[in-house]
């Protein structure tokens, strides 16, 4: 099974070297590709100096397009699975192999690395939004996802092909709800995650509100109108 780890990076000069180093050390059996999303810092230089495999977007397109670029690449190179992995060190490479095992054994379509699988999501400021998304997905699809906002997900070949067909497919919870409606088999694997070590989170109150409005509208309204005659 050929697995590609897609690492979208926007101005991650400070974290990248450490994250890639750990990745190469913990799971050298998997290929990775960094998608430099038009960074303005030394990300590009770092990739060239260390000969990291990377795709450089000439302009900044945002996270979802960066992940899609990685998926297009995975599709062209004939990979069987693609993993979405953060460049800030939040995701731990130790859990990649268990996720790949899960997909290989069950032949499912998506594996989500869940912080709250088998336990309850703690009630804090930052989990309120995630709880609302869980509720919305459950309400509209009947499926319970314990950690829908987790950014560490493994996608099968079928999903990769589906993903790159439509620019609306973002690596976000609303696409998960769409995939469930298309009949995709989504599984979860229990993981731990690291808090951000360098740089600052984009999760300001304004951004979080925008994100929530977008997600709720998308899950509860727009997904009903989307093309559902897709063959998964």
């Amino acid at each position: 099974m050929k697995v590609l780890i897609i690492i979208p990076a926007y101005n991650e000069e400070k974290n990248l070297k450490r994250v890639i180093g750990k990745l190469q050390q913990v799971c050298p059996q998997f290929d990775y590709v960094i998608v430099n999303d038009g960074s303005t810092d030394g990300t590009e230089r770092l990739c060239r100096q260390n000969q990291y495999r990377h795709i450089s977007l000439p302009v900044n397109l945002g996270l979802s397009a960066a992940v899609r670029a990685g998926m297009r690449y995975a599709s062209q190179k004939g990979y069987d699975m693609a993993l979405q992995f953060d460049a800030d060190g939040q995701h731990l490479p130790e859990y990649i192999q268990p996720m790949v095992d899960c997909m290989t054994q069950t032949n499912c379509d998506v594996v989500i690395a869940s912080r709250y699988f088998g336990s309850r999501m703690p009630f804090r400021m930052r989990t309120v939004g995630a709880k609302m998304i869980t509720a919305a997905i459950r309400l509209t699809t009947g499926r319970h996802l314990s950690d829908p906002t987790s950014g560490m997900r493994l996608y099968s070949r079928r999903i990769i092909e589906q993903f790159i067909k439509d620019e609306n497919n973002a690596p976000e919870p609303d696409t998960l709800s769409y995939l469930i409606r298309l009949g995709a088999d989504i599984r979860e694997v229990k993981v731990e995650m690291d808090e951000r070590t360098e740089g600052q989170s984009y999760l300001t109150p304004v951004n979080a509100s925008k994100y929530m409005i977008h997600m709720m509208m998308s899950i509860c309204v727009f997904q009903w109108f989307r093309d559902r005659k897709v063959v998964l």
Partner: protein
């Protein structure tokens, strides 16, 4: 039935002349494509027509059941602008998608070429 007042008619006329001037200037300086100027020229022409023949507005207001012809003119303008705005949203969205796809493909192509060189 009230007709359009003289002051409103002059105001409309001045407004449409301004639109003509600005659009012709933009086309001359190549700031906009001609196909994008068509809407504004047609809109300006409509307003000129209404200011010269205010009975058109009276007739239209009776037709759709609006009491004041001036309100009918406002409605017409808002409706046309709304349609145009919607068309722009569609174009912007498509442009955004095309731009994203293009950028991704260019970047992937470069990576693939680099890989071929190394081999």
């Amino acid at each position: 039935m009230a007709v359009l007042s003289w002051s409103f008619r002059i105001f409309l006329l001045l407004g449409s002349v301004t639109v003509f001037l600005i659009i012709s200037q933009c086309i001359r300086k190549k700031q906009i494509q001609m196909k994008d100027g068509i809407f504004w020229i047609v809109l300006g022409f409509l307003l000129v027509l209404i200011s010269i023949f205010p009975n058109l507005a009276v007739w239209a207001s009776r037709l759709i059941g609006i009491q004041s012809p001036a309100n009918c003119v406002f409605f017409l303008i808002i409706f046309l602008l709304g349609c145009h705005q919607f068309g722009l949203t569609i174009r912007l969205s498509q442009l955004d998608m095309k731009n994203s796809e293009l950028t991704q493909n260019i970047a992937i192509q470069r990576t693939l070429e680099d890989e071929e060189k190394k081999q």
